[in-house]
Subunit: 70 residues, 12 copies
């Protein structure tokens, strides 16, 4: 069966620098337990003004990877 | 890197009492395997009239928690 | 506590035959690690025209199963 | 032909007590003319503050039942 | 039980004059079989350019009325 | 008044063969009580893995027909 | 800082004449307390059949204006 | 001009008891500065598990009232 | 191959008169380069209050036509 | 500049056989004027019961391709 | 009553630099009249190409704050 | 006829630097064939982790321009 199957999980990356940095942080963290992350889909961009002087970005991503690639 | 990363999973709590009880049941069950559940977002409220004399509530939640908080 | 709790995960099944075959492939793969898959909800139907002469279907499903049924 | 067919109709239940009571009221009323109501899906929760001292809940449900089950 | 129950049905009104006229046509037609129509919610405004020299408006409405008001 | 009025109802067709067969089953059943079904709009594709060895497709359709075509 | 900031508020205009008249009524009323209304976005078109012989249109608008333009 | 104009604002009510109590709390608070609140529309039900032993409900409502009713 | 193929494009019609006039203006303009426009679907109704004393309607339509009908 | 740019257009494929065949028909037709179609996203599945004894499937796709790949 | 109530308002921040700068501009402006801004939710990212050589970002935010925190 | 008509097309800009750079790339490319691009609306932010060490941003925009401005 040559057909592949993928799974998507939902991760929230956080950064006080930028939306892109929040996405990279989510990627870095998720990569520690999942190999072969393939793609992401931004679901939500939000944040708060509480802890820092400027916005703290919280970016929710769906992250896709191939199941059992081995 | 002080930035945190969170994960969201999707759980369906069930109760024949109330929507709130369904949410609490989902929380209780999810807490058995995940520590530090932080927040929830109700995705869907539905149910059936089949098994009981009154509605059986099925409440789909996204539940968020911090990854690797240790 | 007789109330049940379910979890939903998101899987992408792939097939160059049909949408139904992509759903079955996702089911077959997910069944290898999760018992008692109960239901699915189609989230997205997309695909590409790159690798094959005809569409390669990529069908994203939410798949639901009961937690700790034992 | 063993395949079943279902119909969904949209009902608005009302209660000044709770969201659950509004759902039950919709169920009770709909059961007077339709047998074998199977499931419901909450579409909208709204209400007004006009007639009573506290919220009057208006809960829109889709209610599903089997066609011609006889 | 003083609580009321409402039903919503979906009607498509048609007019080559205006969106409002299409809504009124839907109202007029639905009133022939249902008394006490209370409110409407526009779901979709579309139409075609085929039969007439100008747009033929097709307006989909949800129309709400009280069940068994007698 | 030459303007026509249409009604849409929501039907769930079921099949263990294919999505198309579920749509046809819904059509066949609805045609028993409604003449002149004109069009359909797929609202939801879901199903379960419980009763059969392969997916049981449950396809929710809005089905449109002309009111009082006589 | 040459960058401008805008605010959006949500207003429901009402008319028994037309959707356009409901939008104009919302505009007229909002203009009494807010200068420099710039744009609007229709959010919802609904209404009722209760008080008048024909539809009473209730059109929800988001209305945008510049903050502190002075 | 007999036509009325309404405004909607967005309020988040909070309660550790129930969704209904969160709605009532939002109502009570909003009533302190706005007279003649007429209706509400639930936009979002979410909450957290942080401060208390059970869910803290955060219910976002749109609340409608008539402008300048005097 | 008797099966037809259609294309949809997105057009924004503008009018200071009415929503219907904006739709007709979009139709007139699109007809200059595309023959056989078949149907439209209203995507968005918005506008501004800047250039004129009353609303300038901007109506976004999807417009469908048959490909290569010749 | 190594970065690529893509365009998406919206096509409606039609078939009285199956949803997959409608997608393939859209692909075949679009390929006559656009080279290098890369991917598709199903936007809508609808159809009618008018012209044939069984459903005529109308599947709206967004189809993506690379701009100026030469 | 220890329960808090929050309000959300909708602000459009503008910047020709970046999406993040538009969010910060909205924050800065809103902070001039509202203390204790807590969180934001990005609703829409759009902009124009008219006034400047590069995109002018217009980012619509919902901004939340606590009512009567005193 | 002083009323203007606009068209919107959908473009996917790509960049391994930032979301803003992906938008600018889409703008630059689209400007090669279309004059007078007026505004954009971000539809989707996604990307992949395959080709590069960090995210490759794929930003889908609707881009609006005036038809026949000459």
């Amino acid at each position: 069966m040559p057909d592949k199957t993928y799974k998507k999980i939902e991760i929230v990356g956080v950064s006080d620098e930028s939306i892109e940095k929040a996405i990279e942080n989510a990627h870095t963290k998720a990569s520690q337990s999942i190999h072969n992350l393939r793609w992401f889909e931004v679901q939500e961009i939000r944040g708060n003004f509480v802890e820092l002087d400027k916005p703290l970005y919280q970016v929710t991503l769906k992250v896709g990877f191939r199941l059992d690639e081995n």
